[in-house]
């Protein structure tokens, strides 16, 4: 068992890991195969790698790194659309910094900027709205990106633009929603998952009720977890506890942030401005029904998709990339053929290398490059 030096509450962590080991011993399945637990959220992925949590857990637990990093699942075609909008005359294209380096089929937003497009990094969609106010003769487009955590922010910004009568502002909506994605993963034949670490900040907005189907129909436990190392360990313990007692429930470990009912004003703003798309394309995962939202007709004039001609072309992921398999947890990042060679954080081929919340970048950054195959790890253990 190895602990990162700066690990807080070391004793608590050690106790939790012991309890986890004990529970593993009581679970029949672990005699034949490890338990697969997926963390859905990129924040958890980042935290797991940063603190070396995988290395602390017994070999009977396999953590599967899920698709919960919005930057990482952005398909190339959508990046191309961003570039196409940004290159139109008179446009100021605004985006969170995270999305600047995601590769498109021709170029990233960063390269588009270098080539002369007016692409600006902003911290908040409010800043994009302020730019629109300041530049009435320009069209300001905000790249709306993220799960339910950031969806309310763009919805509220659209409502503010409407209230203020601002006409030169629009959102290029690429928001995605977590529940249909989890369902798609559960329906995927090449994956067997035994439980889920639920996303903390998405749940802060949507609450815990939308996950009930995971317990009721798929009979899998989910524990909504905070992202501190102890939160993650405690949540894993809670999942194992459920499995060992034959329960499948949705539990909330992160009660200090996540109210069971979610956030009413946030949900109301989202429902007012957005509606579900029939389907949305994900990098690596393909098309998933009802997994994205678009701007409702009532707010069409704030919808960049309607305001601008966009190519909207589906671009296949590069052949050498195995992002899809890694996203679904079928392959570990280091098993991808180009990991660490052709694909690095400096020259990302796949989006999982771009954000520290992507599994590949996290593996790369925190010494995972040297990680050995599980069999070797097992023999190295005392």
């Amino acid at each position: 068992m190895k602990f990162a030096d700066e690990f807080r509450d070391r004793d608590k962590a050690i106790t939790l890991v012991r309890e986890i080991e004990k529970l593993c011993g009581q679970i029949e399945t672990t005699r034949h195969r490890p338990l697969n637990i997926m963390e859905v959220c990129g924040g958890h992925t980042h935290s797991i790698f940063r603190y070396g949590l995988e290395g602390m857990l017994p070999p009977a637990i396999e953590l599967v790194h899920g698709p919960g990093c919005p930057v990482c699942v952005l398909p190339m075609g959508r990046v191309d659309d961003c570039v196409a909008i940004a290159e139109q005359p008179g446009v100021i294209f605004t985006t969170f910094g995270d999305a600047m380096r995601v590769p498109g089929s021709r170029k990233s937003l960063m390269q588009a900027k270098a080539d002369g497009a007016d692409v600006r990094m902003v911290y908040s969609p409010m800043d994009a709205l302020a730019l629109a106010r300041k530049n009435p003769d320009r069209e300001v487009v905000f790249f709306g990106l993220g799960f339910e955590t950031t969806m309310p922010s763009t919805a509220l910004t659209v409502l503010q633009a409407e209230a203020d009568g601002i006409e030169n502002f629009s959102v290029f909506c690429n928001h995605i929603t977590i529940v249909p994605t989890i369902k798609a993963i559960l329906d995927s034949p090449d994956l067997h998952l035994d439980g889920f670490l639920g996303p903390g900040h998405v749940s802060m907005v949507i609450g815990t009720a939308p996950y009930e189907f995971i317990a009721n129909f798929y009979r899998r436990p989910m524990v909504v977890a905070g992202f501190e190392p102890l939160d993650v360990l405690q949540s894993i313990w809670m999942i194992l506890k459920q499995i060992s007692e034959g329960r499948a429930e949705i539990e909330n470990q992160y009660t200090r942030i996540v109210p069971e009912a979610g956030n009413d004003p946030a949900l109301a703003a989202v429902a007012q401005v957005y509606e579900l798309r029939e389907f949305f394309e994900w990098r690596g995962l393909g098309s998933i029904d009802h997994s994205g939202v678009r701007v409702r007709d009532e707010y069409a004039r704030f919808d960049a998709e309607r305001k601008f001609a966009i190519p909207n072309i589906k671009i296949a992921d590069p052949k050498s990339c195995q992002c899809g398999e890694v996203l679904k947890g079928v392959l570990k990042p280091w098993q991808c053929k180009v990991f660490g060679t052709l694909c690095t954080p400096e020259t990302p081929l796949g989006a999982l290398m771009v954000s520290p919340e992507g599994a590949c970048a996290a593996y790369y950054q925190y010494g995972g490059v040297k990680r050995q195959a599980p069999a070797e790890t097992a023999t190295a253990a005392p």
Binding site: E6, R8, C41, G42, G43, H46, S47, R50, C69, P70, F96, G97, D98, M121, V122, Y123, S124, P125, M126, D127, A130, L131, L145, G146, F147, T149, T150, P152, S153, L156, Q160, A163, H201, M204, V205, F227, E228, P229, R256, I257, N263, D264, P265, A266, A269, P356, E357
Partner: protein, 93 residues
């Protein structure tokens, strides 16, 4: 962008638009507080609140201890620096 950052509301700028100034580790900027106000916790009562700020929107009220713990881990993850830097840059224009 997904993890947010804790800050403290120091004044209300525009009660109608639900805009307030927040202090995040010494960086001040305007945020939207629509998601943390309701009948029991009106705009005026938000001054002094610790909140979790996601991309310029207060998404959750937290206590001071939670704020400190969250800031510590965000710093270790390297996310706090990036977030504060993005805020600082945006506060200028």
């Amino acid at each position: 962008m997904c993890l947010g950052i804790p800050g403290r509301i120091i004044k209300i700028d525009d009660a109608g638009r639900k805009l307030a100034t927040v202090d995040v580790s010494g960086v001040r900027r305007q945020i939207n507080i629509a998601c943390i106000v309701d009948a029991e916790h009106p705009v005026e009562s938000c001054v002094g609140d610790w909140v979790l700020v996601h991309v310029g929107f207060a998404m959750s009220r937290i206590d001071e201890h939670e704020a400190a713990e969250t800031l510590k881990i965000l710093t270790e993850l390297g996310e706090a620096q990036a977030e504060i830097e993005a805020m600082r840059r945006s506060a200028v224009h």
